[in-house]
Every structure is written in structure tokens, then in C-alpha cells.
């Protein structure tokens, strides 16, 4: 049995809780918090005056290199990066090789997560076999095996008929369909937001409307089927306006975004910087501001890392041939905090977007500070300054779009079921 851990004089924050005081952990659970708690015999005391203690982050969208792309990242290396980023639960995308379209693979991922000792992996199940968009995967059996929701990962479910079937069928199992909102026939061949910049660089563009078109279609299909749709990494103001209206109309529509879409804009690709090649592509400044506004007004339900590990060979290519995607586990918290520091978001709203709200969407354990609740915790200094450097990030995937970005906010420690796994 682990000794007790007492966090002394910290700011305890999360899902309606915001108090200064102590928090006591015993046997992997939160025993008590708030005010001054006595120190039990043999307890490990964490003194962190002024630091913030929040629930371990729940990252609702991350790609793992396993199975099939171990040269990019293994689950072990992702777990190291996650712990360093304060993440204790991660929902893993199913467009791996093989795709997560078989119940045995759902079990495998859950087990591999347990084996890390620091990270709960919640697998997404594939919507279609092999994530190919052609025939439905065994959504019922995958759900029974523990798939938290269904998506084809980085591939949009292109066919309206297939999306209708998926929403309709998954509804019977109370499962949500997570869409990569991009009309593939309009985006085909594109590698950057269509704009003056893509014109200057001579790069084939993807119009921002490709996102809104898929969102408007799928909102209609959610209405038609009564199914639940979730739009991942939403990046345009137009799509967010549609989602806002759908929510107001009472439809079962939710969405997330990722730090690149509220912290960076298209200018980051500058001189063909492939580390800033993402999918969806970084947008115009106008859209970035609208993403911030939608975080602040609650339209966006969660901030996910959208972690996509790539190795140097995937990225050291001419821009259009380079693989899209950025690593994001280690920077998720600090990039979000940048927008607390600049006044766009309150600290408690930011933490909820990283913990309680994604936990609710995924039906995940944790994400709250509660007596008797699991002691998945993240302790951070919101003010300490550091600089993101590709090559020096924890874990294997170094393809950060934030290379060179100075940030305020350092994870001091991460606890998984009461056990310290980082710091």
C-alpha cells in the first residue's frame, strides 16, 4: 500500500471547486480537501505554495503510434509525454494499423494503458472497418469491449449515407460518433488553408468552407437520426456558428478544439515549415479569434491535444508531401494557460475544458476533485516560464508546431491513482 500523500497549501481547482488548502490522498483516492488538514503519520507531504492542483488532464483526442507506427511513438513513450504534460487519461484514435475495429484490439489498448501505470487509455472504436468508410464496424461489440465513442480518426466519414447509418446505429448503443469535419472532395490535394498565403507559397489550398460543409451536413444527419455527433478539432468560425446554433436547437451536437487552432494561425507555416502542417490546416487569424470566443462562451466542449506523432522522415519533405500532424501532449496545458494569462479564459474554465468536460463526454473516471474520487491529479505552477524546443520534449514525438514558443505554466507533478508518475 502506498503511503498517504498530503498536498499542502495549494489552490485546489476543478469542476466547481476552487479553494486554497490541503488535499489528502489515501489508497489512490481523494480522502478530503480544503482548509488545513493534519498530516497523517508517514504521509508524503507535497509543499507547493501557490501552485495549482487540478484533476489529471483528460485528453479526448490523441493518436498513438501503436499498433503499426511504433517508429513514431510507442505507448510507453506516449505515457511519458502524457505524464509530463499532466495527462492521466487519453482517448486514443483508432486509425492505426491495424485499425481498432475488433473488440480484442480495444482490450489490448486498455491493457497496454494499465501496464504503463501512469496513463488510462480509452480507445475509440472505428466507425467503419479499417476506417475505410465502406462498411460499418461492429459498433455494438466494440462498445461492449470498452470503446468510448466511434470515429474514423483523421479520415472524415465522407459518404452521407454511411454517416447516417453510423449515427443511427450507434444511437442504439448510446454511442457518439466523432467526425473529422472536412469535406474530402473539396479538400482533395490541399495542404494549407486557402488564402493569400497559400497563393504566395504556391501550395494547394483547402477552403475554410470544407469544414462548415461537413458540419452542416452532419448536423442535419444528427437531426434526422436522433444520433449524437461530435466534431473534432474545430478550427473555423463558420463551423462554430453552426454548432452553436445546433446546440441552441437542442440537438445532440458537441465539439472540441486543439491548442494549435486557438494559439497559432496560418502564418506559422511561413517558409514551408512542415512542423506546422496540420489537419485541419492552421487557419487565418480571424478564425483563430473566433475559436477563442467559442471556448469562452462554452460552444466548445473540450480542449484536446490532437497529438499526432511523426518522425523526422515524415516531416523532412517538401511541404505538400510531408505528413500532417503535430505532437501535443507535453504542451496541452501550457498553451491553454497562455490564453488564461492573456485574459481570454478564466483559469477554472480552462481547467474544466481539460478535465471535467471531456470526462463527461467520454464517461471517464476522474476529471473532478471529489471526496472519494480517484486521485488522478496534476500539480502545476501557472507562472513559471519555459520555452518549447523540438528535440527536447518528453517522449519520442518531437514534431511540435510550437517550436520556439515561450510559455508560462509548468507541470510540477502528476499522480495516477495516488502514485506519483511525474516530477
Amino acid at each position: 500500500m502506498n503511503p498517504d500523500t498530503l498536498f499542502s497549501r495549494v489552490r485546489i481547482l476543478g469542476a466547481g471547486v476552487d479553494v486554497l488548502g490541503d488535499l489528502l490522498v489515501r489508497d489512490g483516492h481523494i480522502v478530503d480537501f480544503g482548509g488545513s488538514l493534519g498530516t497523517p503519520d508517514g504521509a508524503t507531504v507535497i509543499e507547493a505554495d501557490g501552485a495549482v492542483l487540478c484533476p489529471g488532464l483528460i485528453d479526448m483526442r490523441a493518436a498513438l503510434g501503436e499498433p503499426g507506427f511504433e517508429y513514431r511513438e510507442t505507448i510507453a513513450s506516449a505515457a511519458i509525454a502524457a505524464a509530463a504534460g499532466g495527462i492521466t487519461t487519453l482517448a486514443a484514435l483508432p486509425d492505426t494499423n491495424p485499425a481498432i475495429d475488433d473488440p480484442a484490439l480495444v482490450h489490448l489498448l486498455r491493457t497496454r494503458g494499465e501496464e504503463t501505470g501512469s496513463l488510462t487509455i480509452l480507445p475509440y472504436g472505428a466507425v467503419t472497418r479499417g476506417c475505410k468508410g465502406e462498411e460499418l464496424a461492429e459498433i455494438g461489440l466494440l462498445r461492449e469491449a470498452g470503446a468510448v465513442a466511434f470515429t474514423d480518426g483523421s479520415r472524415a466519414i465522407a459518404s452521407a449515407r454511411m454517416m447516417r447509418l453510423a449515427l443511427s446505429y450507434a444511437r442504439g448503443f448510446g454511442a457518439r460518433i466523432v467526425q473529422h469535419p472536412e469535406d474530402p472532395s473539396l479538400a482533395v490535394g490541399g495542404c494549407a488553408t486557402e488564402s493569400e498565403q497559400s497563393t504566395r507559397l504556391g501550395l494547394p489550398g483547402i477552403p475554410a468552407a470544407a469544414e462548415a460543409m461537413m458540419v452542416v451536413r452532419d448536423i442535419r444527419l444528427a437531426e434526422l437520426t436522433g444520433g449524437a455527433v461530435h466534431f473534432a478539432h474545430v478550427s473555423t468560425g463558420e463551423a462554430l456558428a453552426l454548432i452553436r446554433a445546433a446546440k441552441a436547437a437542442g440537438l445532440s451536437v458537441t465539439c472540441d478544439t486543439a491548442p494549435p487552432y486557438f494559439d497559432l494561425n496560418e502564418t506559422s507555416i511561413g517558409d514551408f515549415r512542415t512542423y506546422a502542417k496540420l489537419s485541419p490546416p492552421l487557419r487565418k487569424e480571424h478564425d483563430r479569434k473566433l475559436v477563442i470566443a467559442a471556448l469562452a462562451d462554452g460552444t466548445i466542449d473540450a480542449i484536446a491535444s490532437d497529438h499526432q506523432p511523426r518522425d523526422a522522415d515524415d516531416k523532412r519533405l517538401p511541404f505538400a508531401l510531408a505528413s500532417a500532424g503535430g505532437s501535443g501532449l507535453a504542451t496541452l496545458l501550457a498553451v491553454t494557460l497562455a490564453h488564461v494569462h492573456n485574459g481570454s479564459l478564466s483559469l477554472s474554465a480552462a481547467i474544466d475544458l481539460l478535465t471535467a468536460r471531456p470526462a463527461a463526454l467520454l464517461g471517464a473516471e476522474g476529471g473532478r476533485i471529489a471526496k472519494g474520487g480517484v486521485a488522478d491529479l496534476c500539480l502545476f505552477d501557472a507562472e513559471r516560464i519555459w520555452k518549447v524546443e523540438a528535440g527536447k520534449l518528453p517522449g519520442k514525438a518531437q514534431n511540435t508546431p510550437f517550436d520556439g514558443r515561450a510559455l508560462e505554466g509548468v507541470v510540477l507533478g502528476t499522480w495516477k491513482r495516488g502514485k506519483r508518475v511525474f516530477g
Binding site: G202, G205, P207, F319
Partner: protein, 319 residues
């Protein structure tokens, strides 16, 4: 040396793009190129200038014209010129690019002329190799020496560049020649128009400082220079235009449309031409209007000037 100036404005290591160059840099390259025109016509040579230097023509796309022009320019200045053609279809393009760069570095190449079908490929190479990299056309991004030779042709014919109205016509969206020319001509004070069907005009190009026209008559009205672009056959297979004959009818340059430009307007084309698609032979071969052959001559002089300028850093270090 032909240019005895204390001030050398061009301080870049490479020539990757026209975008970002300042008027004095462009002006000086053009002046130097102009002096090479005279030298070439006089039959004299400058074979000591690049003696002992290695110039590699690295072409991932076929191009007889540009490759030959660089080869001739290098040889006239005394460089050892090697042509490397790399088929981009037979192998994985990315691996070839990185592997080739490593090989070239081991060979101690001084000047690397690169053409590639991907935008930004020369930028990537420039990060890896020690040589000065000259972009000889990358994807739909830029073709800087083409813009310089076009500017030199205009300057010699018109006596100036600033203040002219230039209409660039055709497939703007997929043209690196158009982009480099737009940057150069707007930087040097021209009024630049782009003319073409909406499906071949790229997004938000007006924000770069050009005026967009979809009608040839309006676009050519009062123009001093009419610059035609080559139409790639694949634009038809991909459905951006319905047919060659329809394209010629509305966007092909014939005497009738040219009549709307200024009476002394010159006609340019980067070649190779699709006669009867974007340009009528009667215009292309009209000695009073067409400067297409002169562009080819200017090409050699401009490339000599670029090779000369980019080697100056080395020469300074040695002296």
C-alpha cells in the same frame, strides 16, 4: 569583373524566391545581367570568374530550356557544370531529395541549381546543403530567374520598368512564373493585372497587389506588356477548363485581342508555347510585337549575373 561597385546590395546566400527581395537587389542583378548581354554579344568571355567552381544542375522535372540556359551561363563563366537529371516518378521523391542533398554536400558543390515539382523543395535543400541554391522553378511557387529575365527584356525594350502596365494572362493558379513576375514587377513599381478564367485564378491574389480580370479585352486594354503563360494539358483533364478550343476562344492571344493593348505593347511567353491554345502563331511570330526569342537570350545573361552574384561571397572570403 564587370561590376565595379563598392556597394553590393544582394547579400542573400541563395536565390530561392523573388518575394522578399528589395528594389536595389533586383536592380543590381538586372544591371549586372545587362552587362553580360553586351559581353555575350561581343563574343568575349569571362572564363576566369568561376574557374574551379562546381555548378550542379539538379533537375527533378524535365526542362531542356532552363537547364541548357544555366549550363551555358555556368560554362561561359568558367565553372565546371554537371547535369543531374533525377526522375521523380520512379522513386520516392522525398527520400531522393534528402539523399541527393547529402550526396551533393559530399561532392563539395558550390552552386546548386534545382528544379522540382514540389513548392518549397529548394528551401528544404537550402537547409541541408552548403552550396548556394538557385531555384530554377519549384512546383507552383516561384521561378525567380524567369522573372529576372522577363524584367530585363522589358527594361531593354521599354527603357524602364516602373510605371508600366503588365497583363499576365492564363493559368495563374498553377504558374510559378506568374508568382515570381508578380512579386518582381509590383516591387519595381508596375501596375500588374492578372487575366484568366476564375478557375485558374488563385485565392485572394488581389491581396498581393494585382488587379484581377476575367475578360481579355478589359484586361489587355492599355497594357504595355502582355505576358502569356503556358496552359498545362492536365488543367483540362482535371476539369478546370472544358476544352482547348473554348480556352483559345476566350483566353488565347490573337491579333484581335492584342489590338486592345497599347499599339507598342510587347508580347512575352516563358515557353514552351502551345500554339493555338494560349497564343496564336501570328502573334507569337510577329517580329514587331513578340519578344519571345529575346527572352531566351536574356535568360543566359540573367543566369550569368545570378551565378556571378552568388559567388561573390566566396570570392570575397578568398581574397
Amino acid at each position: 569583373m564587370l561590376l565595379h561597385r563598392s556597394a553590393v546590395f544582394y547579400r542573400q546566400k541563395h536565390l530561392l524566391a523573388i518575394e522578399g527581395l528589395q528594389p536595389p537587389e533586383i536592380g543590381q542583378l538586372l544591371d549586372l545581367a545587362d552587362s553580360y548581354v553586351l559581353l555575350n554579344r561581343s563574343g568575349k568571355t569571362q572564363r576566369d570568374l568561376l574557374r574551379g567552381r562546381t555548378l550542379i544542375n539538379l533537375f527533378f522535372e524535365d526542362s531542356t530550356r532552363t537547364r541548357t540556359s544555366f549550363e551555358l551561363a555556368g560554362k561561359r563563366l568558367g565553372a565546371d557544370v554537371i547535369n543531374m537529371g533525377v526522375s521523380s516518378s520512379s522513386v520516392n521523391k522525398g527520400e531522393t531529395l534528402i539523399d541527393t542533398a547529402a550526396t551533393l554536400n559530399a561532392m563539395h558543390c558550390d552552386l546548386l541549381v534545382v528544379r522540382h515539382d514540389q513548392s518549397g523543395a529548394p528551401n528544404l535543400l537550402a537547409q541541408i546543403v552548403d552550396a548556394a541554391v538557385i531555384n530554377a522553378g519549384d512546383g507552383t511557387h516561384e521561378h525567380p530567374t524567369q522573372a529576372l529575365l522577363d524584367a530585363l527584356t522589358i527594361k531593354r525594350r521599354k527603357g524602364r520598368i516602373a510605371g508600366l502596365t503588365v497583363a499576365i494572362c492564363g493559368d495563374i493558379a498553377h504558374s510559378r512564373v506568374a508568382r515570381s513576375n508578380i512579386h518582381l514587377l509590383t516591387t519595381m513599381g508596375c501596375q500588374v493585372r492578372v487575366v484568366g478564367p476564375p478557375t485558374l485564378i488563385p485565392a485572394e491574389i488581389a491581396d498581393i497587389g494585382v488587379t484581377v480580370f476575367h475578360d481579355m479585352v478589359a484586361g489587355l486594354a492599355g497594357a504595355d506588356v502582355v505576358m502569356m503563360l503556358r496552359l498545362q494539358r492536365e488543367r483540362m483533364t482535371r476539369g478546370q477548363i472544358p476544352s482547348a478550343r473554348e480556352y483559345f476562344r476566350f483566353y488565347g492571344l490573337d491579333q484581335e485581342k492584342l489590338a486592345y493593348a497599347k499599339p507598342d505593347a510587347i508580347v512575352m511567353h516563358p515557353g514552351p508555347m502551345n500554339r493555338g491554345v494560349e497564343i496564336d502563331s501570328a502573334v507569337a511570330d510577329d517580329p514587331l510585337r513578340s519578344v519571345i526569342k529575346e527572352q531566351v537570350e536574356m535568360g543566359v545573361a540573367v543566369r550569368m549575373a545570378v551565378l556571378d552574384m552568388l559567388s561573390r561571397g566566396h570570392r570575397r572570403n578568398e581574397s
